[in-house]
């Protein structure tokens, strides 16, 4: 076996002095980092799954997410649909930037990168709106106005002459209830949002670099590819968050 001594390099990919994965160390590190980050999100979603499975009741997503700017209620999931579309769209522009990078086309890279940054910023804006809206409904990381056990109280308070909104706020502030749903929602979407935010920041930096011609000088646009991987990963995570929080 290994005691066989052969010529140093027969040109096989695993023989050393080579890149067996056909990827530079930077790309490899990004891939493995993403794998690692995937486990972080997995653990969070696992916590979500286990707690949801163990809970005796759970908020109905159709009720929670039924608002969009301009529509106070009655449009379930429309807004998150828009958010999903924005994020997928920005993923597409990112791929287009990478593709342009392969053709060493600086102007196109910059164009698509700017679109990607805009997409990311729009997504963040949407998330900010959604959070604000939920806050205004009385939700926070430790308050869950959608908890089914609050419904009778809200009804009671409404019967006492309060508006539905007031009654909800009163109930959520005074009655102990299970707020796992909102805790998990804000934690996980927050963690995802944090990833989007850092992605946008990184995208801005590399857009500026691309404008300045750094990658042109370097001769390749691999940096765009690496950052692109990260950006798609953020999209990927959203796909799961979307399914598990909004649909299931």
């Amino acid at each position: 076996m290994s005691t066989h001594s052969v010529a140093a390099n027969e040109g096989k990919i695993w023989d050393g002095g080579n890149e067996p994965f056909g990827a530079s160390y930077g790309k490899l590190m990004m891939w493995f980092f993403l794998l690692s980050d995937a486990f972080t999100f997995t653990a969070l979603l696992l916590g979500y799954g286990a707690l949801r499975f163990s809970a005796l009741n759970w908020a109905d997503p159709d009720v929670v997410f039924q608002s969009a700017p301009g529509i106070e209620s009655g449009a379930p999931l429309v807004f998150v649909g828009i958010m999903t579309f924005i994020l997928i769209m920005s993923s597409v522009t990112m791929v287009l930037a990478v593709e342009a990078g392969h053709r060493n086309s600086k102007s196109e890279v910059v164009k698509w990168m700017i679109w990607t940054v805009i997409g990311g910023a729009m997504f963040l804006g949407c998330q900010a709106w959604e959070w604000t809206h939920l806050f205004s409904e009385g939700a926070s990381i430790t308050k869950n106005p959608f908890a089914p056990e609050l419904v009778p109280y809200i009804e009671k308070f409404v019967a006492q002459g309060m508006s539905h909104h007031e009654a909800t706020l009163k109930a959520v502030n005074e009655i102990p209830h299970n707020y796992e749903f909102t805790s998990l929602f804000f934690t996980i979407t927050g963690f995802h949002g944090f990833h989007v935010l850092s992605g946008v920041v990184i995208n801005i930096i590399i857009t500026i670099n691309a404008m300045a011609g750094t990658y042109q000088r370097r001769g390749h646009y691999e940096m765009i590819e690496k950052v692109g991987l990260y950006w798609h990963f953020v999209d990927l995570v959203w796909v799961f968050v979307f399914t598990f929080f909004y649909l299931v």
């Binding site: 076996m1 290994s2 005691t3 102990p176």
Partner: protein, 522 residues
């Protein structure tokens, strides 16, 4: 040529100062313990003489002793030592409030309460809402009228082997410290002299020591001495191990343990012997060359396959025992004696199902709430029992866990604050107590406490329930006595216990056994 090089001197200095450090500590300790005056006992507490110190003692031993000692426990218990506490606190009323809920008292801005809090915070005292003012007076009576025990040396009853009383204790300590000192000294002397001798030899161009031989031989010596030492340990320590399992499934567990022990010990002896013997045998010697021998697939195949087969057998057997122990069907559970242990920092509340053999439900939000049930007196609901659940009404509270021999026991385990673990080593029973997630363990005690006392030859033997999951400062002192008795004796005790739970209510239930109360229970 220097006889004492700076290097050897320095090694010596390090070792020596380390030893002196411990010797000094030991004597510091000796001096300290001899100074412990046998202070004048029982002087205080005159005004508490009218209360029942005996009752107070029993409550103290259950509720207080995890964290408090009576005398001189500087640094030992989690809380202060209590003798003389009535002189420190403002008045009797203060104790009622403090013991029932110290945090609430602190929040009111009470001066002394805050003083105590500032001294001990953030360690909090468990709230004992269930204690009545009378109970508290009884405890105080016990605290203030109990004389300080004479120093250990006089009583000299400390445990079977541990040995000893203060004087011997100090002797023991010094002995060990001196022992350590001597070893280090010897090593230092050997080192220094080796250095001198080898320098002498080296100056003549010779090597005195063949370290390969020395280390090789030391491996052999280590092997022999080590095995002898292990033998000595088995000879000395096996008698201190747990006595035979006192439960039905415990016998299975023990059998499994013996098989695993035999197997692993055999492998242990063989592989360690091979390792050290090879190290000795194949040490480098002049004229000997190593064998170039890189692998042997047949050999490797066998020593993969054999452990795999053995382990498969172990796993299957283990899974069988585990399944037998842990999986109980509902019928069995209904027939079994239903007992609940409710862990809190730092103690256990024990509840028995009533005549319906069904434990009432409980809700953590009701703990220590005043409760009022129609027809009952007001009381404090210290286990958070569901006052609407009829099966809770006849549940009984006990200070000790008594179990009838030969009857399956379904132990329901709950925790009030943090994770604890209900561990009863003699029954081979253990299960964590998780807040918000009741767990259970079913077992059948087979040996009564008295029988076990005969078997172990220890007249003071007792089964014990202790906490085995880190739960806070007094984790090490969270215990409850368990007593296994003949079924008839258990029945007698159980009937007596009917008075113990829902103290105030139960008195009434008894006095009005034929009234509406009894009907309510049905």
């Amino acid at each position: 040529m220097k006889i004492f090089s700076t290097k050897s001197l320095r090694i010596f200095a390090v070792g020596f100062s380390a030893c002196m450090f411990f010797v000094a500590s030991a004597f510091g300790q000796a001096a300290d313990s001899t100074q412990k005056a046998s202070g004048n006992a029982a002087a205080a507490g005159g005004e508490y003489a009218k209360y029942d110190a005996k009752k107070g003692e029993s409550i103290f031993s259950i509720k207080c002793s995890s964290c408090h000692y009576l005398y001189d426990s500087e640094g030992k218990g989690t809380g202060p030592s209590l003798h003389g506490v009535t002189k420190r606190a403002p008045n009797q009323e203060w104790f009622y409030k403090w013991i029932k809920n110290s945090q609430a008292l602190i929040a009111t801005g009470d001066k002394y309460a805050n003083e105590v809090w500032n001294k001990y915070k953030p360690t909090q005292m468990t709230a004992f809402g269930e204690l009545s003012n009378d109970d508290i007076n009884n405890i105080l009576a016990y605290i203030e009228t109990t004389p300080e025990p004479a120093p250990k040396a006089a009583t000299a009853d400390a445990g079977a082997a541990g040995g000893s009383g203060v004087a011997e204790e100090v002797m023991g300590t010094s002995y060990y410290v001196l022992f350590g000192l001597v070893i280090v000294l010897i090593i230092a002397v050997i080192l220094a002299s080796l250095r001198v001798i080898s320098t002498l030899f080296r100056s003549k161009g010779e090597r005195l020591f063949n370290w390969n031989n020395i280390n090789g031989i030391l491996f052999l010596v280590f092997l022999i001495v080590g095995f002898f030492w292990i033998y000595v340990q088995f000879a000395n320590y096996t008698r201190h191990l747990l006595p035979e399992a006192a439960s039905e499934h415990g016998v299975l567990v023990d059998r499994m343990l013996m098989i695993t022990f035999a197997l692993t010990f055999f492998v242990f002896v063989v592989t360690q012997a091979m390792l050290f013997y090879f190290s000795y045998k194949y040490r480098q010697q002049d004229g000997k060359k190593a064998l170039h021998y890189a692998d042997n697939h047949r050999l490797e195949f066998f020593w993969t396959l054999i452990p795999a087969i053995v382990l498969t057998a172990l796993v299957l057997y283990g899974a069988k025992v585990w399944t037998q122990v842990m999986f109980t069907d509902e019928d069995q559970e209904k027939k079994a004696l239903n007992v609940e242990v409710y862990a809190y920092q730092f103690g256990w509340n024990i509840r028995y199902a009533g005549e319906d053999n069904s434990l009432g439900k409980a809700n953590y939000m009701l703990i220590n709430k005043e409760f009022e049930v129609e027809g009952y007196e007001k009381g404090t609901n210290f286990m958070g029992l569901d006052t609407k659940d009829k099966s809770a009404m006849d549940d009984r509270m006990a200070d000790e866990m008594w179990l009838p021999k030969g009857r399956p026991v379904l132990m329901k385990i709950r925790a009030q604050d943090v994770i604890h673990s209900a561990y009863m080593p003699h029954f081979r029973v253990q299960m964590n107590a998780v807040p918000g997630m009741p767990t259970q363990f079913m077992f059948t005690p087979t040996i009564t406490t008295d029988e076990m006392r005969l078997k172990t030859g220890d007249p003071k033997f007792d089964y014990i329930l202790l906490c085995n999951k880190i739960c806070g400062a007094s984790h090490y002192n969270m215990k409850r006595r368990v007593k296994v008795v003949e079924p008839e004796e258990y029945d007698r005790w159980y009937k007596e216990k009917t008075k113990a739970y829902f103290t105030k209510i139960q008195n009434k239930v008894d006095s009005a056994a034929n009234s509406g109360m009894a009907q309510l229970l049905k």
